[in-house]
Amino acid sequence: MADGRETDRNLGAGPGGAPKAGSGRLKAFFVKLFSTNLGKSPLRIKLVACVFIGLYAVIAGKLIWFGLHQEPSIGSKRSGDIIAAARPDILDRNGAVLATDIKVMSVFAEPRRIIDKDEAVELLTAVLPDVDASDLRKRLGSRKGFIWVKRAVTPQQQQEVYRLGLPGVGFLPENKRVYPNGPIAAHVLGFANLDGVGISGLEKYIDGQGLADLHGAGFSLTPESLAPITTSLDLKATYAVRDELAKGVAKFKAKAGAVVILDVNTGEVVALASLPDYDPNTPADALDPNHINRVSVGVYEMGSTFKAISVAMALDQGKVNLNSRVDARSSLRYGRFTIHDFHAQNRVLTVPEVFTFSSNIGAARLALMVGVEGHKAFLRKVGQLTRLHTELPETADPLVPKNWGELNTMTIAFGQGLNVSPLQAMMAVGALANGGLLVNPTFLKRDEQAAKRNAPRVIKPETSESLRYLMRLNAEIGSAKKADIPGYFIGGKTGTADKIVHGRYAKDRVFTTFMALMPADKPKYLILTLMDEPQGLPETAGYRTAAWNSGVVTGKIIERVGPLLGLPPRFELPTQPFPLLAKLGYGMANIPQSGGREH
């Protein structure tokens, strides 16, 4: 209360000013509380001056900060008024154009210069019927200096607008992105919007590689000055693949389908089709959630194709060899769950039989030999538990069970209980086939050397050859017979997963996949076909399993794209397709099982 005493003294309140003892300390306290003290004001004013020094220092500091940070802000902020920027061409692996810029004229108006707004609206909408009249009238009535009337008009429309002779209406040349092949490879290309900004797919990837920065920095780029982007796609093969897939999806009344052709040695995606798709020239369609890229955005339980991974794991870790036997005499019980086989043999199976009969029990037993931790580690090594990164920005994380126990290992061994993107599964199967190197898939052209430079080895070459043998065997005598096109020495594996509907596996809805390796002796391409809810047909005897739909479609695709991709049918069977296995003492691997169906 030293303050208060000082107050009284400085107030100089005459002799009667001292607080009376009787009226209580409370009153004195309030007097002190409410009275001000002139003696303090010089110091207080200096305090206020200090506050101002601080304020001005902050202002000066921000000014100096501006002086030191002079990078221009990215122009996309006001993209409504900028002219669509140039973008590089996108080519297929042979140089055919997939996406290009063309010069178009766009009609703009300067509302403040327009004399008669109603007349202008009437005349413009007569020439450009798809411009909304009331919206145009509203925008012409604004006080803006510049509005777009319509972007990218045809030369004829431009002539007609020109002849209207409206003051305050003019033209600006712009770049418009055109996709001459329509929906072919739409999911890979993505699309760019009217302002030339990549929104999805490779178009967005290009922006991320520095193109947007160039535009932001104010470089006026022409399409000629930008080096074209060469993709890994083969336009003809992609067309053929999409065509066959569309026929297949229509025939089997599937909800959706997709096909990918992957070069297992370079990781290049040579063809990709995902149906239903969209035409990037009308980009609004791309927003339909049904039009997603099922190969990289969708994650699915891949079904029996995962058995290839399980068998490879068990072989590679030396738990079994090709002559080992696995007990599949009865269903496998685990707690209240029972695992059955679809093609139940009810006997002891060899490892190749586990693969060709697609035995769930066998695959589960093989995975249990490796153990839960070993299984997880192997799946992580072949990239099944983490998100796959490619040039396409649209990818999804795999759905991995949170509490991974023995039951999970058993079901995942035959492809249920772990959702991965199909492209991710292809990367793993590609590694099983190509000699054991995990090559990250790419959508840009690349050679084998570049691909294998940072590809880690995940399995031994012998294991890889065993897998090729098993896949070949499966095409000769197992479930992949439908795709065994003569002359291509195909290997294959089917996969049929029951779909989960309302939290339980539905018996009548399936997700079928088919992986084909062509050719199985010197692997080049891995073809994946998947179909979502294909229906059984009378000619398939009502079966809706993978061999009857995805397998058939894959066979047609092999027949059609083989020659396009530089793989003509061979008329001679390879005599020593699996030399490593022969050395290891599995001479039977080189003897055709089907009795010379190849000719």
């Binding site: 004001s41 110091l43 004013i45 020094i53 000066a60 501006f66 990078e71 200096g145």
Partner: protein, 397 residues
């Protein structure tokens, strides 16, 4: 100018005023005219007026501004108080008339007879508040503090009704600072500070307009759909495109799309055409005026003159700091002009009155020192005696 020995009113004025302050204000007026030439032509063009429309009007307004400033600066403190009281009453009347009969411009009723009366209210309010606080501190028989306390709600109530939150905020801050400088108990400093904070919080919570502005400042995307940070972004672009030394007079391009380039955002235009160096120079003039004014005030012996000069300088300083901070996106947008630089007739005349008052109350007045020291002598205080001696030495060197 006149010799020191001359005893005419003019000579007396010249030798007793704060000439540095006058020079700084003169510099601001000249700079303001130059910057109006930079900032206003694009706005005039947008409005379909001749390019130099605002420049001409500003140049014409300079003459009454200077005249009013000089005339007011001749007043004695007593006359200053009377003038302030008269201006306050008239301005209040006009504000209420504007509320009742004025037409709405951009959602508020501020204008009547072509002027914005709240501009004139501000300097008068500061003088009256300073008067009340000085009386409250000096004498017990006048309820000065009580008058000062009721002066605030009386003044800001019609401003809130307009609504004009910028001026309300300014007046409230100046009033609070005056109370603080009058030697308010620290209990209240924190109490009122807390109340002010609470008030700001309540305004944020219950006044949608305030809430929208703050949210827009913090997160431009939250405004529901359209992100409207055009003005601030453009202002920042201006500073960035200008660099240290600017693009040169008339070379600015960002100013063509900057709304309010001649009023609230003239500082950004300065940044683009004359560079960050020029902006720093202008900021330093404001800092000079404010700091010099406050230091002079702290040395002033007369309580009224001390509070009046501190309050006027404060208002000037806060207005300039808020405007510059908004331009630099340190604060959400507030309708606050940059004193003497921004275009605006009412604002110029009001500033002229304020600075005139400031010069008038900071004039050296030997008489008051003598009276004060004589009083102190009667009470027999050694400290005051020393002051008396100092005063004697100053008057009769």
């Amino acid at each position: 100018m006149a010799a020191r020995t001359e005893r005419s009113a003019l000579a007396n004025w010249w030798w007793t005023i704060d000439r540095w302050m006058l020079a700084a204000i003169g510099a601001l007026i000249v700079i303001g005219l130059v910057l109006t030439m930079a900032g206003s032509p694009p706005v005039a063009e947008r409005l379909g007026l001749p390019p130099f429309h605002f420049v001409h009007r500003q140049a014409l307004a300079i003459f009454p501004t200077i005249a009013v400033m000089l005339l007011v600066s001749f007043l004695t403190p007593r006359q200053v108080r009377r003038a302030a009281l008269i201006i306050f009453v008239i301005a209040m009347g006009l504000i209420i008339a504007a509320l009742l009969f004025g037409h709405e411009v951009k959602g508020s009723r501020r204008w009547i007879f072509g002027v914005q009366p709240s501009e004139f209210l501000k300097p008068a309010f500061v003088i009256l508040a300073a008067w009340a606080f000085s009386e409250g501190g000096k004498r017990k028989d006048v309820p000065g503090n009580f008058l000062a306390i009721i002066l605030l709600p009386m003044t800001i109530a019609p401003l809130i009704l307009q609504p004009d939150f910028g001026q309300t905020l300014l007046i409230s801050i100046v009033w609070g600072a005056l109370f603080f400088m009058a030697g308010l108990h620290w209990f209240w400093v924190f109490g009122i500070g807390g109340a002010g904070f609470g008030g700001a919080l309540l305004a944020y919570k219950f006044v949608p307009h305030v809430r929208a502005r703050v949210l827009k400042f913090l997160d431009p995307g939250s405004g529901g759909g359209i992100v409207d940070t055009f003005q601030v972004d453009t202002a920042l672009d201006s500073f960035l495109s200008g660099g240290w030394f600017g693009k040169g007079p008339g070379e600015g391009t960002v100013k063509r799309i900057l709304p309010d380039a001649h009023t609230d955002f003239i500082f950004a235009v300065t940044g683009e055409e004359f560079g960050i160096a020029a902006c720093l120079f202008i900021a330093s003039i404001f800092a000079f005026v404010v700091l010099r004014g406050l230091l002079q005030a702290s040395r002033n012996d007369d309580p009224f003159c001390r509070f009046a000069s501190a309050g006027l300088v404060l208002m000037f300083g806060i207005q300039s700091a808020i405007n510059m901070a908004v331009n630099l996106h340190l604060m959400p947008a507030k309708g606050m002009t940059l004193p003497f630089i921004s275009y605006g007739g009412s604002s110029l005349i009001s500033l002229a009155i304020g600075i005139g008052f400031l010069i008038a109350v900071t004039r050296k007045r030997p008489g008051e020192r003598i009276i004060a020291s004589a009083q102190a002598q009667r009470e027999g205080r050694a400290a005051a005696l020393k002051g008396h001696e100092a005063a004697r030495r100053e008057i009769y060197p």
